[in-house]
Amino acid sequence: MTNFDTVIGLEIHVALLTESKFLCSCKTSFGAPPNSQCCPVCLGLPGTLPLINEKAVEYGAKAGLALGCEIHYFSRFDRKNYFYPDLPKAYQITQDAFPLCTNGFLEYYVDDQLFRTEITRIHLEEEAGKLIHSGQSIVDSEYSLVDYNRAGIPLIEIVTAPDIHHPKQARLFLEQLRLLMRYIGVSDTKMEEGSLRCDANISLKPKGSSVLGTKVEIKNLNSFRALERALEYEELRQSQVLSGGGVVRQESRTWDERAGKTMSMRSKGDAPDYRIFPEPDLPPLNLDPVWVELIAANVPELPLARLRRLERDYGLSRYDATFLVNYPEFCELFFQVAERGLGYEDVVNFLMGDYARLAREKGHLSAERISELLTLVDEGTISQGQAKEVLSSLFSSGLSPREIVQERGLEVVDDPGRLEPVIREVLAANPDLVRRLQDGETKLYSFFVGQVMRATQGKADPEVVHKLLRGELGK
């Protein structure tokens, strides 16, 4: 491996979250009964004509703007011709020669180091239908069924420059890209539902060489993990081929998740000739610069900018800030709670703790409830342990934290006048242990603190108990 540099480029398909399809008015919702969301246009019936969904163009431009691309006021649609049962017209409407966006970039961290990957282009295109095979694949199936619900959903294809150099870097790039798409709200980018898909091109070249090696395309990467593993596998395979004096064939390979390896699909010679030509049914897109400006004005704060703001303005660690950036709903809560004058780090720690687990199961609490709870801890009304109890009941009851504290009689008892009699009782009940403690077995302190806590139903302030115990035993 050390003798070679790895060169990786990605092609990412992102399904846009428009309500209707790219070229007709059918719905796009996921999981509808097969073939319930199609019409003569997306079925490609004779005589039907496409019409561009303006929202898809807007989302495409928004993605381009968020990736720092140049948005082309003039772009054009083309036909890409090939036969496949899931492709109703036997051609895909896409953008070849004149894409919507070019020349962008994305920045992201890999182990605290900032990387930048160039985005070569982003273009609009339509999705194909979905084949459901009776067997494992189209080849070994007795029959295959086609669901055209997906056919005609708008996609953007994002193509990166070949400037990614490690499998892990590729994964982190893709994760950051997904986050960005979610921030700008153009896609739900679920790899498991196919709304985010990635093909990877990888080649090796002798270390330091400026001449690119022969590239291999890897398909069927259905998760971030698959992307990284497939690239690691392919990196190793190619380096072994090259080290052994062999030649890497230019081909498409498919990732076999179970076998954990890539397998040859088709060589370059077998690649279809798509006979791409300008789409005669659609006029070119001519965007109004003012319209594009309005879209630009609607691009929200992007992940990296937010990370920097959290670090700079809130003094958060990279770790904490990254958590908030990766989970925008948590971040939103953070901003709202932090506004109420609570310690920033306490708020993040709270959000990242039990709260995160519970919120994922049951949904978020309001910022008001959270700040009230944190204030109760902050002012010493309840202990951390009690806060946990209040927190779990907050998810099920309609009461406020203060009301729960009152209802359950939860509060911290730190009044020595109330605690001392309890302490004396506990000591009197365990004379042997008191002796052992006095003989130097100091770890027994925690046993006695626990006993006092128990006797007070957890209300006692453990620190005060500890202090009082010392005083009592030191007599």
């Binding site: 019936l45 004779p46 039907t48 011709n81 036969f83 036997a90 295959s144 005669p280 049914d281 006029p283």
Partner: protein, 469 residues
């Protein structure tokens, strides 16, 4: 048509009676002509009865409510078979109406049947139909022209008062000329293509066929206009049937391109067109000799583009969703067997040609080159309209030829020699009868005007109709 409308309006006739009369004519003529693929007797009578009911209640949809029409069988009609004269779509019934069909229904026109054509409109004689040739009503041994041969023959033989055709390179004008009727290829974008089965989307237009210029204009007024379902349809102002004014020809500048009167032009055709031009001149028009030199490249350019687009547009006939399916062990074999079984030889030939000109290694030499030449042709045509108001040429080099006479596809392609230019440049063009040859075969004259100048076109056509028949 005004007479039929008047009879309906004054209750001298019902729509049912009129439709019945045309159905009788169809029953009588069809065994010889074969102008229809489907005759919808039941549907047409039902629509006629509805029209009569509307009229009785004073709710007629238009002056033409109840006057039947024939529609070329590559235009979608909901529930009524639309075969495109192909075996592949033998049993295909569209789920929706083409916008133009919707327009006809909005005006109350009963659809009497679907007319024959060359398979998927690829041809100039209607000989390439999977349902047999349409014969010329003026001479049954001759072709009716194509690809809208069925529409032209049906109108010429009185099987329908008017009809819709489609024109990609001359497919309305050439059969209109062969059958002695009027046919208009409108400006690209003037009429919606939604629901019209594509041959070559950048060239296809739907247009009217009728026996008179006025009827053609009336039918055009019913189908012209923007359609939000067709991104190539234009926002042009609505078309009004013009007022007929015989004085209008005074000072009209008529361009006569010498290239259209050269070698290969039938002498009798030339004489008829020249005579007609002289007639117009005598009435005050000015004849201006012009040059449309790029027409030399029109057929090659046209064929390159039409085959390229067709090869893509016809790829959807794969047997997966509708139409012919020949079962096979894998999908690729199913595609090729279904297509082999469903398509006729001319369709296969054009798909092969189109696939070739679009292939990566030939794209630049053919398709891209043809696009460039198309731009030059368009420029050439538009430049001529800075000098003249209209351009007049013969519609076709010869009158209707004999069935089976053109065995060589290249010869057949030359039928579009004078007509393809209008499609390549998107301008409107009309063919109007201008007499008959010594054998009694109809001859046609073609008038072309600049984009969206249909009104001008009809006015000139009207003068030709008055003066040259």
């Amino acid at each position: 048509m005004r007479q039929l409308a008047h009879m309906l309006d004054t209750r001298q006739a019902t729509s049912r009676e009129i439709v019945t009369r045309y159905l009788e004519q169809i029953a009588q003529q069809e065994p010889q002509l074969n102008a229809f693929i489907t005759v919808d007797e039941e549907g047409a009578l039902l629509q006629a009865e509805e029209a009569d009911r509307r009229r009785a209640e004073g709710r007629a949809l238009s002056p033409w409510d109840g006057i039947p029409i024939a529609v070329k069988d590559n235009i979608s009609t909901a529930g009524l078979k639309t075969t495109c004269a192909s075996r592949f779509l033998e049993n295909y019934r569209p789920l929706f109406d083409a916008t133009v069909v919707d327009n006809l229904r909005q005006a109350g026109l009963p659809i009497i049947g679907k007319t024959n054509l060359d398979e998927f409109a690829m041809g100039s004689s209607t000989e390439y139909s999977a349902y047999g040739v349409t014969r010329n009503p003026h001479d049954l041994s001759r072709v009716s022209g194509g690809s809208s041969g069925g529409s032209a023959a049906a109108v010429a033989a009185g099987e329908a008062p008017w009809a819709l055709g489609t024109d990609t390179g001359g497919s309305i004008r050439q059969p209109a000329s062969f059958c002695g009727v009027v046919g208009l290829k409108p400006t690209y974008g003037a009429v919606s293509r939604y629901g019209v089965v594509a041959l070559a989307p950048s060239l296809d237009q739907v247009g009217p066929v009728a026996t008179t210029v006025e009827d053609t204009a009336i039918l055009f007024s019913l189908i012209a206009g923007p359609d939000r379902r067709d991104a190539s349809s234009s926002e042009a102002r609505p078309f009004q049937v013009p007022r007929w004014d015989e004085q209008f020809v005074t000072g009209l500048k008529i361009g006569v391109p010498e290239e259209f009167f050269g070698e290969g032009l039938d002498q009798e055709v030339e004489q008829a067109v020249r005579k007609c031009l002289a007639e117009l001149e005598s009435r005050g028009a000015v004849l201006v000799p012009i040059s449309l030199a790029t027409n030399e490249y029109a057929i090659d350019t046209y064929l390159t583009l039409v085959t390229a687009e067709a090869s893509s547009c016809l790829a959807r006939y794969d047997g997966v969703r509708y139409g012919t399916r020949v079962a096979a062990a894998d999908s690729n074999t199913m595609f090729s067997k279904s297509r082999a079984a469903g398509f006729g030889s001319e369709v296969k030939r054009r798909i092969m040609l189109g696939t070739y000109v679009l292939s990566a290694s030939h794209y630049e030499a053919y398709y891209e080159q043809a696009q460039k030449v198309r731009t030059l042709i368009k420029r050439d045509v538009l430049a001529s309209f800075e000098e003249v108001d209209v351009v007049i040429t013969p519609t076709t080099p010869t009158p209707a030829f004999r069935i089976g006479a053109k065995r060589n596809p290249l010869e057949m392609y030359l039928s579009d020699l004078f007509t393809a230019m209008a499609n390549l440049s998107g301008i409107p063009a009309i063919s109007v009868p201008c007499g008959k040859d010594s054998k009694g075969l109809p001859l046609g004259i073609q008038i072309m005007a600049s984009h969206f100048q249909e009104e001008l076109l009809f006015k000139v056509a009207y003068m030709v109709e008055r003066g040259c028949l």
